[in-house]
């Protein structure tokens, strides 16, 4: 069944020798230099420091992805997975409810953005001739994504209003129903071509665009969960009655968080549609839900770090284990089970992402701070 099982240790050896070893050596030898640089950078306003670090990160990713288009594609889908995981973590981690409607929000965002771009900028048989000059397209692409996000938020209202009157498993059931409603709705909408799917999206979701939106997403969600509202959300999760007694408007807090998470799922869906340049309703199914949930619980609840780690590791594992064919579907679930046994809340749970302390020079270069 395995093509060449001998190749697997070789592949691991290759990764260690070509990537691991040089990276370890460079990191090790440049500690004092980079620490000094970081020390100098931190004296500038935080915005500049962050911008420099992000530019460096993007350069690294760009160089890595520049080798082949396959890497670019995997990287783009991984970044989208980060956005999805993070937004689901707001509901399932920070709010402590169990929501199943994420693929539904994603579908709303994907279809809304696709209808916008295909309708206005592409000459196709469903929406007629080109409406606006294609040169304007890339500038209006953010508008398409934001509209997609808003539509997802609007859809989220229909889940939020009935299910946040009470506490318990209601959200899980209603959101699952919502996922199916969205899916059948699109399947029966002829103007988006039903189950045949919508294709021909313009190729605007390139690596810088996806990267920028991911950064925006991480930034805004990180700010949200560290704000008063985010802390109120944690209070609601831990004890709704106590939170209410401490003057937290629990219902409003929950609805705001839910719509916020849905917004980012919608944006991620819009990007997803423009990366694949084809969407069909069956993409947004239970299987998709299971993947996002796995990423959230693998990475860790209530933590921005955790979501990034979860999304990146599950996406990359899926690609790296491709040569194992069917065994891939034994190894990944096995890893999930192991994580659930030894770290029931995920790899990196309940940890704040503090940008300043992340970028500050490390006091003790040999170990952790």
């Amino acid at each position: 069944m395995l093509k060449k099982p001998v190749l697997i240790p070789n592949a691991i050896l290759y990764v260690v020798l070509v990537y691991g070893l040089p990276m370890g050596v460079t990191t090790r030898s440049s500690i004092s230099l980079t620490n000094r640089l970081a020390g100098r950078l931190i004296r500038f306003p935080i915005a500049i420091t962050v911008a420099v670090h992000l530019a460096l990160l993007y350069t690294t990713l760009h160089l890595w992805a520049g080798i082949s288009d396959y890497r670019t594609l995997v990287l783009k889908l991984t970044l989208i997975a980060v956005m999805l995981t993070l937004s689901l973590n707001v509901i399932n981690g920070y709010m402590g409810e169990f929501s199943c409607s994420h693929p539904g929000f994603m579908a709303l965002g994907a279809y809304c953005a696709s209808v916008f771009t295909v309708g206005l900028f592409v000459d196709d048989q469903f929406f007629g001739a080109v409406f606006l000059p294609p040169a304007l397209g890339p500038f209006l692409f953010p508008v398409a994504l934001i509209l997609g996000g808003f539509l997802a938020s609007f859809g989220a209202l229909f889940v939020a209003i009935p299910s946040f009157r009470t506490r318990g498993d209601y959200l899980a059931i209603i959101s699952l129903a919502f996922l199916f409603i969205v899916k059948s709705l699109i399947e029966n909408l002829e103007f988006v071509r039903g189950p045949r799917g919508l294709s021909g999206q313009p190729d605007w979701a390139d690596l810088p665009t996806v990267f920028l939106w991911t950064v925006l997403c991480v930034w805004s969600i990180n700010n949200f969960v560290r704000s008063t509202l985010g802390k109120a959300l944690n209070a609601v999760r831990d004890n709704e009655m106590a939170a209410s007694a401490m003057t937290v408007d629990t219902r409003r807090t929950k609805i705001v968080a839910f719509l916020f998470a849905a917004f980012w799922a919608g944006v991620a869906g819009g990007l997803f549609a423009h990366v694949l340049r084809y969407v069909n309703p069956s993409t947004f199914s239970i299987q998709n839900l299971a993947e996002v949930l796995a990423m959230v619980y693998f990475g860790g609840l209530n933590s921005v770090y955790g979501s990034i780690v979860g999304a990146v590791s599950i996406s990359l594992l899926g690609e790296a284990l491709r040569p194992l064919e069917i065994f891939k579907w034994i190894i990944i679930p096995l890893l999930l089970i192991l994580v659930m046994i030894f770290r029931p809340t995920g790899l990196i749970a309940f940890k704040d992402l503090d940008v300043t302390s992340l970028l500050r020079p490390k006091q003790n270069p040999d170990g952790e701070v």
């Binding site: 082949s68 189950p195 694949l276 084809y278 069909n280 491709r322």
Partner: protein, 375 residues
């Protein structure tokens, strides 16, 4: 740069990508694809390689699983074309995967041939994408004509999956053709369900009460069994007709006696086959233990079409980009190719001109040839 590098490094080996549904909803389809491709590779190896021009090249198959998911099919297609440097890609099979993967192949100017995808969008406006089967707009009228002339019926019922593009498309084409023949309202029941539904009794009751004379259900093998059995339990005794998605080795296994006597339109009939078709079936059966379904037969034809196209280029330059272009040109000019699923001619676009076969499931549970219908 990636193109020229990989092209230079593998100049002596021809790589052919197989983008198959090995896991996911339809693993049997992926298995058929894999087995047929491997049989073809054996033949090439036995001949000492693939002779192109004056040179013999070793052939390597790059077999990847697309998990029956659109995004995975796109990833696999990109990986094969940009990382592995395949000359031609065969698959994906189902339209859901073949449409987005075809977009990738066309962007990178690499020939892709989908053996089984019947959705018009797969090859539409894509000069680099081909297919080995006929299309839904052809199959719908074929079935409508067959029922009309064979049974002289005028009232038909349709039961299809609204959430899957293949059944939905075919149901629409059938309805259009039928109503064109027998007038508006002659499709007396047009009932739908959603993928993974297992209880069809409410739709079937409506169909039975509608006075329809025949039931057309263009579903996949796993649903066919349920629909046919439930229809019989509810008292339906009239003919049931299906489409090429019935032609799986699993259909009769799952459906049993209930499916005996039903008809479906397809690409080839295993029982009563002659010549090259029989040789292929016998060989496949001896090797893998079951009669190959149409996916395997169409994949086999696709592999031979690819071989023919590569050989027709008259020689490889070693520059992958140029070779891919040459293969495309050669492929689009293939005329009267004798495949085991019928004679194929490519005239211009990526869709072959070929005939459909009407198959009857015999009382021994075999797919027997009933009639051939040409456009």
């Amino acid at each position: 740069m990636a193109f020229s590098l990989s092209g230079w490094a593998h100049a002596e080996t021809i790589k052919i990508g197989i983008n198959a549904e090995l896991t996911g909803d339809i693993p049997k389809v992926g298995e058929g694809t894999k087995f047929a491709a491997q049989m073809w590779l054996e033949d090439v190896k036995a001949a000492g390689g693939l002779a192109v021009g004056k040179k013999k090249y070793a052939v390597e198959l790059v077999l990847e699983d697309n998990e029956s998911k659109a995004e995975s099919a796109v990833k696999v297609a990109t990986k094969m074309i940009t990382e592995d440097g395949v000359l031609v890609m065969v698959g994906p099979q189902a339209s859901k995967q073949a449409i987005p993967a075809g977009g990738i192949a066309n962007n990178y100017k690499t020939v892709m041939i989908s053996p089984w995808s019947t959705n018009p969008d797969t090859t539409k406006d894509r000069p680099y994408v081909f297919r080995a089967c006929f299309l839904d707009p052809f199959q719908g009228p074929v079935v409508a004509n067959f029922i009309s002339t064979e049974f002289k019926f005028t009232k038909a019922a349709v039961l299809y999956d609204v959430a899957s593009d293949y059944p939905k498309g075919l149901a629409e084409f059938f309805k259009k053709a039928w109503e064109g023949k027998h007038g508006k309202g002659s499709v007396v029941a047009y009932e739908s369900f959603t993928t993974k539904d297992t209880d069809f009794s409410s739709q079937l009751t409506k169909i039975i009460n509608s006075g329809a004379q025949v039931l057309f259900t263009p579903q996949y093998y796993n649903e066919v069994a349920l629909i046919v059995q439930q229809a019989h339990q509810l008292g339906w005794k009239k003919p049931i007709v299906g489409s090429d998605s019935w032609g799986s080795a699993e259909t009769v296994k799952l459906c049993g006696k209930d499916c005996y006597g039903t008809f479906f339109s397809t690409h080839y009939a295993a029982a009563g086959a002659t010549g090259a078709t029989k040789a292929f079936i016998d060989r496949y059966k001896a090797k893998y233990g079951y009669v190959p379904d149409d996916v395997a037969a169409l994949t086999w034809d696709s592999m031979l079409l690819v071989q023919q196209a590569i050989q027709n280029t008259g020689g490889l330059t070693g520059d992958l980009k140029k070779d891919r272009e040459n293969v495309r040109t050669a492929m689009s000019q293939i005329k009267k190719f004798k495949g085991i699923t019928g004679e194929m001619t490519f005239s211009g676009g990526g869709d072959p001109v070929k005939c459909a076969v009407i198959v009857k499931i015999s009382d021994a549970g075999e797919f027997t040839f009933y009639k051939s219908v040409c456009p």
